[in-house]
């Protein structure tokens, strides 16, 4: 037991683990993350693709080759933190609380990050003015106004979504402007202004005259493939035919003209606001951890300055 304790309290082990984590992180930035398995086979060949997929290198920071050294580092850091505390009590060494705070903050940071990995939830939605979304069970967010501001050169200046919030059917917040860098906090969830877009809609009529609406990016199945509605260009709807992963045809279809077994009944566009709802139970522990680390770093600088080590 004492041999294990000595092993884990070693600063040399800390240096080695830190460098191993650094090298593994470098490897992760050289291999594109989160791609389809076929991408790795196509880019690296069968042997390397299989190796990457077995080791989970396509999602590296959730993989065991990354988690194991981070886990060992967590144990190493914990033991070092405890050992510093104990040895100072025994040896009455000079009190250096800065590094203690940094170590404590880093431990809490790793715990907070693990809570985020396990509990973070995210949901993206495009909303038009007047539309509502249900948030948890009791909250409803209604988009009252959406404004897209541009600079003179056409670059985006600001995206502003003015929303009203209802709780159990009653108006809780009559008006709040969600902007980039200014999210709305409600019931433990933060709602972020993510993007603005034009949403194109095509009204499709089937042979029985029953209508359905399709928005850009969506599609429907046909024999041997998929027809995807790309959007409106001029007065025509643009559809693409996809067979497996290959686009085989592009169709420009006007109102009253056929596409597969449908007829285009009407076309229209509107501005929509892209909102991202995020719930992250790990964020508060991470913020506390960052404050502790910051305090520890400041204290270390002050102490070293006093001791004339700098």
């Amino acid at each position: 037991m004492s041999a294990l304790y000595r092993f884990f309290r070693s600063v040399r082990l800390a240096v080695v683990l830190i460098l191993i984590i650094a090298v593994l992180s470098i490897v992760s930035t050289l291999i594109p993350q989160g791609r389809d398995p076929s991408f790795y086979f196509h880019s690296y060949g069968a042997f390397w693709a299989q190796l990457f997929l077995i080791l989970n290198f396509d999602d590296f920071f959730h993989s065991w080759p990354f988690r194991i050294p981070v886990g060992l580092f967590f144990i190493n850091l914990s033991v070092c933190a405890v050992d510093r505390f104990i040895s100072r009590r025994h040896r009455r060494a000079r009190r250096r609380h800065g590094p203690d705070l940094i170590h404590l903050g880093l431990l809490l940071l790793i715990i907070g990050a693990m809570v985020s990995v396990a509990g973070r939830r995210e949901s993206f939605v495009y909303m038009g003015v007047g539309e509502e979304i249900q948030l948890k069970e009791k909250y409803i967010i209604r988009l009252v106004e959406a404004e897209y501001q541009e600079y003179e050169d056409g670059r985006p200046k600001d995206w502003i979504s003015t929303v009203a919030v209802l709780r159990n059917g009653e108006l809780l917040i009559p008006s709040y402007s969600i902007e980039v860098n200014k999210p709305l906090r409600i019931g433990g969830v933060r709602i972020y202004q993510s993007s603005f877009a034009r949403e194109d809609r095509a009204l499709l009529l089937d042979q029985d005259g029953i209508s359905s609406t399709i928005t850009n990016g969506r599609g429907f199945e046909v024999e041997g493939g998929l027809i995807v509605f790309r959007g409106i260009e001029g007065k025509s709807a643009v559809f693409e035919r996809w067979e497996r992963r290959t686009r085989t045809a592009v169709y420009r279809v006007g109102i009253g003209e056929p596409i597969a077994e449908y007829t285009v009944g009407d076309l229209g566009s509107r501005e929509v606001s892209g909102l991202n709802a995020v719930k992250d139970p790990g964020f508060i522990p991470v913020v506390i951890a960052l404050i502790i680390v910051g305090a520890g770093l400041t204290l270390t600088l002050i102490q070293k300055g006093k001791d004339r080590e700098l």
């Binding site: 590296f60 600079y151 200046k157 980039v180």
Partner: protein
């Protein structure tokens, strides 16, 4: 125009430093650091002038970041020259001045567009200002540590090596907390405010973490006898190389969220 004058001043300062370093009698030049101060003031004036025009602190693209970074290096070199009595300081100043010149040369190249344009929505945050400015101030200390470490590996004299080792350590010990606060702490808070995710494993974030890990390892090598000296110096050099890769390499070789800076 002001940036060009600052660039010329840095070159003049480096030439004066080189002339005095090459002279046989070991005499420290009396005024090159004042030229560095003048260059730093002019570069900060560029930042202020652009900030007034865009109505935001001008650290939102590669050119503006490099101007601020060079100003921080020049100002720091001036302060070190005033305060430190160490005989190695003129050599360190010369090496670090050359780094500042190289950074401004990159700023003047086509890879850093110079148009004065206001920031896009994601960049309109005070967290971003803290993130960028503190990161570069921390990295300015790393520039000095880098030059010290190279000089340490090249030096043969025991006393000189000892003093260079100490200077490398003190600059990293000061730069590290500033870099940590700027690059990681305020960066994470800004990312949370802008995108709802304090960490996304974006290549630039990952490389900033890698750089931080290398400097963390450096600081811990001070406690391991076997690692002191050469290993420490090599880590200080690798840390700076990674700092530069995080700034330039990631932008051009690896895609991610930080495509604007």
């Amino acid at each position: 125009m002001i940036a060009t004058i600052a660039f010329a001043l840095l070159i003049v300062s480096s030439v004066v430093q080189a002339v005095y370093l090459l002279r046989r009698e070991a005499k420290v030049d009396p005024f090159s650091h004042y030229i560095l101060l003048a260059a730093a003031v002019l570069l900060l004036a560029v930042t202020i002038e652009r900030s007034i025009r865009i109505r935001f602190v001008a650290v939102t693209n590669t050119f503006e970041s490099l101007v601020f970074f060079s100003a921080a290096i020049a100002l720091l070199l001036f302060l070190y020259r005033l305060r430190a009595k160490d005989r190695t300081i003129p050599y360190i100043n010369f090496g670090a001045t050359v780094v500042a010149i190289a950074l401004l040369a990159i700023a003047s190249s086509p890879i850093a567009p110079k148009e004065v344009v206001p920031p896009i929505p994601a960049l309109q945050s005070y967290w971003l200002i803290l993130h960028v400015t503190l990161s570069f101030i921390g990295e300015a200390f790393f520039v000095i540590a880098f030059v010290c470490a190279i000089y340490y590996l090249a030096a043969r004299n025991g006393d000189r090596r000892k003093s260079l080792d100490r200077l490398t350590y003190t600059t990293i010990a000061i730069g590290y907390p500033i870099f940590t606060a700027g690059a990681l702490i305020f960066g994470a808070i800004w990312a949370q405010t802008a995108w709802g995710s304090y960490w996304s494993w974006d290549p630039k974030e990952t490389w900033a973490l890698i750089t931080w890990l290398v400097y963390t390892a450096y600081l811990h090598t001070r406690f391991v006898k076997r690692f002191r000296g050469k290993v420490s110096a090599v880590l200080a050099i690798v840390g700076f190389a990674f700092t530069m890769f995080t700034f330039f390499g990631v932008n051009y070789l690896l895609a991610g969220l930080h495509s604007y800076a």
